[in-house]
């Protein structure tokens, strides 16, 4: 006698400790095997794109912090580069180098969070605390420079807000010296661990064609064997001057993506060492530009500087009438800004191409044929953040 079994529709709800935010997945289960799945996003929608239409360009920078709140520095940089491209200006070399340093630190920080939560969900709880210990050092560096621990608001149109503080270089050097050892520890804890390998190998396959068709980007794309990194393809902020590799893996599974990200952290350290060594001197923000407010000393002593500052803050700058798409390589993937400018100080439309949103859309493909427990592994490997996905 056989018991008739049907497919179950269960809800892996928005409140769930392992969905890394508010993700709701509707799973069609055949026993424990997943027949189909559908992610339901939007629980963290805050209306950023509409808000941007009512704000001056530089007023929107704190909002970009809150997109991918794990790697705020990268978002700031991405948005500011988009606006600089629109205006046709370039930040001074020192500002560009500082932005690269902050982005790479942000990348390491973001990957540390990824590793921490991914491992925690799969069951390795120790890794969580170790990763966050390293992340604390990075966040201390950020707090020294920008003033805040998680929402930095550091990049500005035309450069960065402040120069690096005293002692930053030494602290960064100290961190870079100890980091390879710590990275080695994570490897020792996880990479050859049999439990880890059996949980992640062969799980969540996304073939190369599927990855390209779905439009995923970042480590998810590189974990499927496609060697694509915007820092190499369309370099920005002086990335063409740094020497680094792009890790890929042909396994197309969760384990492959894990290896890609671990290697990326090592490459980021390489970039940081080069940037620190070759940090140029000079200004950190454009002066005498029609798009940037003059310095505080000038505002408090010069009439025309004060006037320019007042107009830039009240009415905003005169932008060209143009549309523009600009993308950078974030830890999560390709973060793009599509700006429609109408000449006034506020954008007519600002569309944010969020990597997490696109990556989530590839999830049903990855989950087909896997088991319920693999959902967690796949979610971890995709590494999305809902601030970005839902905006």
């Amino acid at each position: 006698m056989s018991i008739e079994s049907r497919e179950m529709l269960i809800n892996m709800g928005p409140q769930h400790p392992s969905t890394h935010g508010v993700l709701r997945i509707i799973l069609k289960l055949n026993g424990e095997k997943i027949a189909a799945s559908e992610p339901d996003v939007g629980y963290l929608h805050r209306g950023f794109e509409k808000l941007a239409e009512n704000m001056l360009y530089h007023q929107f920078i704190p909002y970009t912090d809150r997109l991918d709140y794990i790697a705020s520095m990268n978002n700031n940089q991405s948005y500011v580069i988009a606006v600089e491209k629109l205006l046709g200006i370039e930040a001074p070399p020192r500002a560009q180098a500082i932005r690269v340093i902050m982005s790479e630190l942000g990348r390491i920080s973001s990957h540390l969070v990824w590793l921490a939560t991914h491992a925690l969900d799969i069951g390795a709880m120790t890794v969580f605390l170790y990763c966050f210990r390293e992340r604390e050092t990075i966040i201390d560096l950020f707090e020294e420079t920008s003033g805040n621990r998680l929402n930095y608001n550091y990049s500005r149109i035309g450069g960065v807000a402040f120069d690096l503080p005293e002692g930053f270089k030494d602290n960064l050097r100290k961190f870079l010296d100890i980091f390879p050892e710590k990275l080695g520890e994570y490897h020792r804890l996880l990479t050859k661990n049999r439990i880890w390998m059996s949980r992640t190998k062969g799980v969540g396959i996304l073939t190369r064609e599927q990855a390209i068709n779905w439009g995923v980007s970042g480590p998810v794309l590189r974990g499927s064997g496609v060697k694509w990194d915007i820092r190499k393809a369309f370099p920005y902020d002086g990335y063409e001057n740094y020497d680094f590799d792009i890790p890929t893996d042909d396994a197309c599974d969760v384990y492959g993506r894990y290896l890609v990200r671990m290697e990326e952290m090592r490459q980021s350290r390489r970039i940081l060492q080069q940037a620190l060594k070759h940090l140029p001197d000079g200004k950190v923000i454009l002066e005498d530009s029609p798009y940037v407010s003059p310095s505080k000393e000038k505002i408090m002593t010069e009439n025309f500087s004060l006037m320019k500052h007042m107009v830039l803050t009240i009415k905003g700058m005169h932008t060209p009438i143009a549309t523009l798409y600009s993308a950078t390589e974030n830890p999560k993937g390709e973060l793009g800004f599509y700006i429609v400018a109408d000449g006034s100080g506020k954008p007519y439309k600002l569309k944010i191409r969020a990597p997490s949103f696109i990556n989530i859309s590839a999830m049903p493909t990855m989950l087909r044929g896997n088991y319920l427990a693999d959902v967690i592994a796949v979610i971890g490997s995709l590494d999305f953040v809902f601030g970005e996905s839902d905006r």
Partner: protein
């Protein structure tokens, strides 16, 4: 003359004859920065030098080989920088607007403007609207002349001027204020004066504190915060206010304006909209806005006791029902002020139809209705437009100086005198000196009361040689007429020749039109001028904002009666209830009428302001919203529908729009109403055959006596319209007292001087006010303006002749 073809920045453009390079660029959408230039002036100033361009003249043979978009930079021989606002283009030249040298030159000019400028962008009210700030951003200037802010040289700050604050340290000497006061307003109160120290400052021409029309134009057009309104100072920043496009409703011009509102309060008025008033406003439109908060009727009341609106409406319904049952529908009279909105007037008419009464009176509309009847008969009735004033050959103003009644027409006339295209001539027929005398019009200074004789003289002159003048009967000898009017024959001849010469715009005061025979005479004059009906336009001039609205309501109505009939029926005791739409009934009806209204059973008043305390046996007051608190409509002098939009919420929910109040009242009657019939206005067709109307001359008798040897006239004042405008801060500061004006010779003979307190006595009563001695007045005349809260000259009037016989005596010493 053919169009001139040339190139600006490589783009082929063509100039109409007489256009400057800046105008051509503007028309083609090419941007050339210019600070002292404005479309509102009749000619450019040319003082700021920001609009400089270089003009490249290529040799003849190169011109033929160059195509339009050939070379992006100047390669030939360039002129030195020339201001494009005054330069006229030459055929085939290349004009370059944005070379590096020009950019540097512009930045250098702007950098010099901060020599006396303190570091006060943070507190200045102009921040956010300041063109100096915008220039700093546009020309990317971060540093100007070096300044030592602890020892900055100081120019004058005129804190003693009323309404206008003049901080000359912020001035960039563009002279826009001088130009607009002189060129557009014709007042010329300001000038750029060289002081003893050798530096230039904007100051009044005579050095005394500013005393002008306080029209807001100089404040509005000043690019920086140098000229600012003291009534607005520090109240809000420019970017925090909502701008609500609305219209002014203090006179029938209907000028467009923008109310700037923040937190449910109107903080100031601006106007940067394209409209027929070209951005200009008068003192009332610009500064009377805060009257919306002063002296308001905020609650309903019965005999002075505050009560609920619904209570009053219930009692009103019951009383009206009782009166209709006892005395019939005809015992209800509806009285409507002619300065209220069309919503009020339509509600009044609607309510009149509802109760079935035959008495709906809008005083002060009598004149325009009489004129309309006459023009319909003669075939001259047509729609008018402000554009036609700009194009007419003759503007004939009689019985009014339009400056004080409808300032918009004053500005049109001044602009006509400055335009190079069409000059046109002004004929000014008025009994006293006026502002437009500056334009040197043909001046017919007639004796007050002799208007009929003057018009007859003109008709006779115009008809000289024509066959059919039999329509005017019993005309006395022209010499007798000349003696009565006091005008010289040569002037009459000059005026007649001018009237004959082309198209005609006739501006005539509505109080004149109320007198017997004047509408017929003015129609006959237009016909004898030889014009076709499409080149004659009549402009009835009044200070009441909705005179045309009254015309449209009453022309189709069978209820309207005039003041004489109203007074007669009142004295016969026909009326037992009067419903009044307006603020102050004693200011529109003379005392012989208002004295009888106090005996009436029921007086219901729908008003917005607490003005003179008028009461009857039973007085019900219902508060209504002003034109700032609800959408309301008016018809301006063209007959165009003007919308005044709601800008703020009323103070409490008792204050409703007038149509809502009437609707609540009418709901009690439980009747289904037929739709209103309203006259849609005259047709546009040209009447071929114009019919002159018969007029029989009758000499008017003078009724003066030795007790009342002088004539009192009610004048218009540009600082007051409806009496509620007395509560606005701007008009109050501009002119605080309703002065009685007499001539210098009369003052000397009575031993009076300016600022003495005087008493004016007529057979109806007496009033007190302050004296002002003027020149250019006839010696037997006393003029008291209407609209001032401290004096109501209408209470001295006993007849409708337009003037009253009075005596004047001194009370105490002057201040």
């Amino acid at each position: 003359m053919a169009d001139i073809n040339f190139f600006i920045d490589g783009i082929a453009v063509s100039a109409k004859p007489g256009e400057t390079i800046l105008q051509v660029a503007d028309r083609h959408g090419i941007y050339i920065p210019a600070i002292c230039y404005s479309d509102r002036f009749s000619s450019p100033i040319g003082s700021c030098r920001i609009c400089i361009v270089v003009i490249e003249q290529l040799p003849e043979e190169d011109l033929r080989t160059h195509s339009a978009t050939h070379h992006p930079v100047a390669t030939g021989k360039c002129s030195r920088p020339m201001p494009s606002c005054v330069m006229k283009p030459k055929e085939g030249t290349y004009v370059w607007t944005n070379t590096e040298a020009l950019k540097q030159a512009r930045a250098d000019i702007v950098k010099k403007w901060n020599r006396y400028h303190p570091l006060q962008c943070g507190v200045c009210d102009a921040s956010g609207e300041c063109e100096l700030q915008d220039a700093a951003l546009e020309f990317n200037i971060t540093e100007g002349l070096p300044q030592d802010f602890d020892n900055l040289p100081q120019k004058t700050i005129h804190k003693e001027w009323p309404i206008v604050n003049n901080d000359t340290n912020l001035c960039i000497e563009c002279k826009r204020c001088v130009k607009i006061c002189d060129d557009v307003m014709g007042v010329k109160a300001l000038a750029l004066i060289k002081k003893e120290s050798g530096i230039f400052e904007i100051d009044t021409v005579d050095g005394k504190p500013l005393d002008c029309e306080f029209c807001n134009q100089c404040i509005d057009i000043c690019p920086t915060g140098s000229l600012e309104s003291k009534l607005f100072m520090y109240k809000s920043k420019a970017w925090e206010m909502d701008r609500i496009v609305s219209s002014c409703f203090f006179c029938p011009a209907g000028c467009a304006l923008e109310l700037n509102v923040k937190d449910n309060k109107i903080l100031r008025v601006t106007n940067h909209l394209p409209s027929f008033n070209d951005g200009n406003l008068c003192n009332l439109g610009a500064f009377a806005y805060d009257m919306n908060e002063k002296n308001r009727t905020v609650s309903a009341s019965i005999d002075g006791r505050e009560t609920d609106v619904n209570n009053v409406i219930n009692k009103t319904y019951k009383e009206i029902k009782r009166i209709i049952n006892e005395y019939g529908s005809d015992s209800i009279a509806i009285v409507c002020d002619s300065s209220v909105s069309s919503e009020s007037m339509v509600s009044a008419k609607w309510f009149a139809d509802l109760v079935g009464t035959k008495t709906l009176i809008i005083p002060d509309a009598d004149g325009i209705l009489k004129l309309n009847r006459v023009l319909k008969k003669s075939g001259l009735l047509k729609q008018s437009s402000y554009e036609s004033i700009k194009n007419s050959d003759t503007v004939f103003v009689i019985g009014t100086d339009v400056t004080n009644s409808v300032p918009l027409l004053d500005w049109f006339i001044i602009r006509k005198s400055k335009s190079k295209a069409k000059k046109g001539k002004l004929i000014m027929a008025y009994y006293r000196e006026s502002k437009l005398d500056k334009l040197k019009p043909i001046s017919l200074r007639y004796n007050l009361g002799s208007e009929r004789e003057l018009l007859l003289l003109l008709i006779l002159k115009l008809a000289e040689g024509a066959e059919n003048t039999g329509f005017i009967k019993k005309i006395p000898d022209p010499d007798a007429l000349i003696k009565i009017t006091g005008v010289q024959e040569e002037t009459i001849e000059a005026a007649a020749n001018q009237i004959k010469s082309g198209s005609l715009s006739i501006m005539i005061d509505t109080s004149l039109l109320e007198r017997a025979g004047i509408p017929e005479l003015i129609s006959d004059l237009a016909i004898v001028s030889g014009n076709r009906s499409d080149s004659i336009e009549f402009w009835p001039i009044s200070r009441k904002a909705n005179i045309k609205g009254a015309e449209s309501i009453l022309s189709g109505a069978d209820q309207h009666i005039d003041k004489a009939l109203f007074q007669q029926r009142l004295s016969e005791g026909v009326f037992h209830a009067i419903i009044y739409f307006g603020n102050a009934i004693e200011r529109i009806l003379p005392p012989q009428i208002t004295a009888k209204i106090t005996d009436i059973d029921l007086f219901v008043m729908l008003s917005s302001y607490k003005t003179d305390n008028f009461s009857a046996k039973k007085t019900f007051v219902l508060p209504v919203a002003t034109g700032y608190e609800t959408d309301s409509h008016y018809l301006n002098l063209e007959g165009r529908l003007i919308t005044a939009r709601k800008a703020v919420n009323a103070e409490n929910e008792n204050i409703l729009p007038v149509q809502s109040v009437i609707k609540l009242l009418a709901e009690k009657f439980n009747t289904i109403m037929a739709p209103l019939k309203i006259d849609s206005g005259p047709a546009a067709a040209i009447t071929e055959k114009l019919i002159p109307l018969d007029y029989e001359y009758k000499a008017m008798e003078e009724m003066g006596s030795k007790h009342y040897p002088y004539k009192l006239i009610i004048g218009h004042d540009r600082f007051r319209s409806d009496v509620s405008t007395s509560f606005g801060s701007g008009p109050k500061i501009a002119k605080s007292v309703g002065y009685a004006e007499i001539s210098d010779r009369l003052a000397e003979s009575l031993d009076l001087k300016s600022n003495d307190r005087v008493r004016i006595i007529s057979k109806m009563g007496e009033s007190e006010t302050v004296l002002s001695v003027c020149s250019g007045l006839p010696d037997n005349l006393v003029i008291v303006p209407e609209g001032f809260a401290d004096i109501n000259p209408l209470t001295l009037f006993s007849s409708d002749d337009g003037y009253e016989h009075v005596n004047i005596e001194k009370i105490g010493g002057g201040k």
